[in-house]
């Protein structure tokens, strides 16, 4: 409606210009007269003011309509990662079952069950140096223990606080050398006892700040042809994506897990669960953990062998 009014305003503006030209043409039927008329019209204070007001209003309304900022609430944020609640574009199409109580343990179990399979290469991209990230083998765990702990803790809190229109979004930046990083982002919501988990970007290699800024603004924006397929664990299904819609908009990978009917494993005290042991800052990225390990070795807190062992374990776990 706003756009329509803007268009009407422009039509009115150009009609005014046309009328002014035609009125002058009646005198001489010559192009020069038309130009004079046009100049007269332009310098006429009242016409000029009206034109400026109409142009400013219509442009402002049009741009305002296009650039609607999403409403979001931050649940957790640091320099390299966040979880937040946001009213997404889908909000008006369905109401989520929020607020929802999904324990950290349950979320950790579900997220831990995710695996990834590498996809074939895309013909759309060349491989530049910063994209040259070692590929994970088939059926690799999708997330490291640290990431599982981070996601389960903060997504659980987010889902408890969410309104029916909101979705919990996450963003994880894993800094790499030379101004490069691996980005993982997506979101989740609860709908009729099912966890909908969306993965827009997974270990997406990037350089500079542009894509980081874009993904921070919209964690559900798919940045490039995915390199991995997300495979859910038991009681999980992959939401089929409409081909043509996916072709145009590049939808995130979407898995649905019937967590309420998933048999619970043996009860585990979260304090005993290394994945949700918050005494250890679990949301640290791989790079941070490696740096800490290096610092510990430099400080003489461990031997070279111990350092190498721990480093290998960290890398294997990632």
């Amino acid at each position: 409606m706003v756009r329509l009014r803007s268009i009407e305003a422009f039509i009115w503006l150009f009609s005014s210009i046309k009328c002014a030209l035609i009125n002058e043409d009646k005198k001489s039927q010559r192009l020069w007269s038309s130009i004079n008329g046009f100049i007269d019209m332009i310098i006429s204070p009242s016409t000029c003011c009206v034109a400026i007001v109409v142009f400013t209003l219509s442009t402002g309304l049009t741009l305002g309509c296009v650039a609607t900022a999403p409403v979001s609430r931050m649940v957790f944020e640091d320099q390299q990662q966040f979880v937040r609640l946001e009213v997404t574009a889908r909000a008006n199409q369905l109401n989520h079952s929020h607020p929802a109580t999904v324990s950290e343990n349950t979320l950790a179990r579900l997220i831990r069950s995710f695996t990834v399979n590498p996809r074939p290469a895309s013909s759309l991209e060349n491989t530049f140096a910063y994209m040259d990230v070692p590929r994970l083998p088939e059926s690799s765990p999708a997330f490291s223990p640290a990431v599982i702990a981070f996601l389960s803790q903060h997504l659980s809190h987010a889902l408890q606080r969410a309104t029916p229109l909101e979705e919990a979004l996450f963003f994880i930046e894993d800094p790499q050398p030379q101004d490069t990083a691996l980005l993982t982002s997506g979101g989740c919501y609860i709908q009729e006892g099912r966890l909908h988990f969306q993965l827009a970007n997974y270990r997406h290699p990037t350089i500079g700040k542009t894509e980081i800024t874009q993904t921070r603004a919209d964690p559900l924006k798919v940045l490039s042809h995915p390199r991995y397929n997300l495979i859910p664990g038991p009681n999980g299904t992959v939401q089929p994506r409409p081909m043509w819609e996916n072709l145009i908009t590049a939808l995130p990978q979407h898995v649905i897990i019937d967590y309420e009917h998933t048999p619970q494993p043996k009860v585990q005290n979260s304090a005993e669960d290394p994945l949700v042991n918050h005494a250890q800052p679990a949301h640290k990225t791989l790079a941070e953990q490696l740096r800490e390990l290096q610092q510990a070795k430099n400080d003489g807190l461990m031997t070279e062998d111990e350092y190498q062992n721990l480093r290998t374990k960290l890398l294997d776990a990632y």
């Binding site: 996809r119 074939p120 290469a121 895309s122 013909s123 759309l124 991209e125 060349n126 491989t127 530049f128 140096a129 910063y130 040259d132 590929r135 030379q178 101004d179 490069t180 990037t206 350089i207 500079g208 542009t210 894509e211 798919v222 940045l223 490039s224 042809h225 995915p226 397929n229 996916n246 072709l247 145009i248 908009t249 590049a250």
Partner: protein
């Protein structure tokens, strides 16, 4: 260089419309046409493939050629003779199917195999300016002939080495060999006699060739906008008839814009320079037409290697294209090659050509 065609109004529309399409919505192969091909870069084909990955590209190209119907030289392979002004080329239509296989032997080293199959339809007038015999009825305008051929072309095997000089740039250098697998002795019937058709109309070149290639790409905007530049050089050795195709230099440069992770638009400029072919032969001159009809006159009866004067060309093309990722491992592409400037030597000019194909990636594992 006798004929020059600048960007005409007709071609202007063909130039602008794809650009408008490009603006609304958002990759590099070598193909050439009398003999012709679509010489462009299709997607990341000139690039290298990861270790164990096979990139299979199957494409079809349609390349029409028409000419100003000037009198051009005829190459008579049987009598080792080049007869000036004896031919009038009318048209050639080349249809080509091409299979391109790129296999990543290591992350830096890729082998590429190109297998073309083509069929070609050609029309021309022969014996222009030659006094007709008692069975012929023309006034020196020559006789109409057509010639169709279909065959596998010359198979090309290339080795490519790629390296990454900076985080967002890539350079690939390659060298290869063209094997004389294509038919180069196809015959046509002329006045009841079977004669070998001109070398430029044959599917193969009749001898080995060597190819050199350099490809550079730079990522202007991560995952969104890539710039590329390539240079290809081809040299073919003299075949057993003493005919040698001129060296080919192809320079291409353009941009690839990934609109979404599944759609890419590209625009590229392709410049191709073909050196004159040479032929070891005697030299004659066909006579005039009408009142000036005077038969064939020998200019030089000695066998010498001479340039074939209507061969060689300069082409500048604009090639917009679209690539769609149809499935995870399959993509489809379509390119239209629009001539901007063509400089021929009375030979046939390439018209607006089309190239479409599919690319599929396979993880076939390492050779070890």
């Amino acid at each position: 260089m006798k004929h020059r065609q600048l960007l005409s109004q007709k071609n202007f529309h063909l130039f602008v419309i794809p650009m408008v399409v490009l603006a609304l919505f958002h990759a590099p192969a070598h193909a050439s046409c009398g003999s012709a091909s679509c010489f462009l870069n299709v997607g990341n084909q000139p690039s290298i493939q990861p270790n164990g990955t096979l990139r299979a590209d199957f494409n079809y190209s349609y390349i029409p050629q028409t000419g100003p119907q000037q009198r051009v030289a005829a190459v008579n392979l049987k009598d080792k003779e080049q007869i000036l002004d004896e031919h009038k080329e009318i048209s050639t239509i080349t249809n080509q199917l091409q299979l391109n296989l790129n296999y990543g032997v290591t992350d830096n080293f890729t082998l590429q195999l190109t297998v073309p199959v083509l069929w070609r339809e050609h029309e021309h007038r022969v014996e222009v300016g030659i006094e007709p015999n008692e069975n012929e009825h023309h006034d020196g305008e020559g006789s109409f002939e057509n010639f169709d051929t279909s065959s596998i072309g010359d198979i090309r095997l290339m080795a490519k080495y790629g390296f990454l000089p900076s985080l967002r740039s890539m350079v690939v250098v390659g060298a290869g060999v063209e094997f004389p697998t294509g038919q180069y002795q196809a015959q046509t019937s002329s006045h009841g006699t079977d004669v070998i058709e001109e070398p430029t109309l044959q599917a193969g070149r009749g001898d080995y060739g060597v190819v050199g290639h350099v490809y550079q790409a730079y990522e202007l905007i991560p995952h969104t906008l890539n710039q590329f530049f390539s240079y290809t050089y081809r040299h073919t050795f003299q075949n057993k008839y003493g005919y040698q195709f001129g060296d080919t230099h192809i320079v291409s440069g353009g941009l690839i814009y990934n609109v979404t992770p599944h759609i890419a638009f590209s625009g590229q400029l392709n410049y191709m320079y073909n050196v004159h072919d040479t032929y070891r032969s005697t030299l004659s001159q066909a006579g005039g037409i009408g009142a000036g009809l005077s038969g064939e006159t020998e200019i030089d009866g000695n066998l010498q290697t001479r340039a074939v004067n209507n061969t060689g060309s300069t082409n500048l093309m604009f090639t917009p294209g679209i690539t769609l990722n149809v499935t995870d491992s399959t993509s489809w592409y379509f390119y239209s090659q629009v001539p901007l400037v063509q400089d021929f030597n009375g030979g046939l000019e390439q018209g607006v050509s089309f190239l479409t194909g599919f690319v599929k990636f396979f993880n076939v594992g390492t050779l070890s």
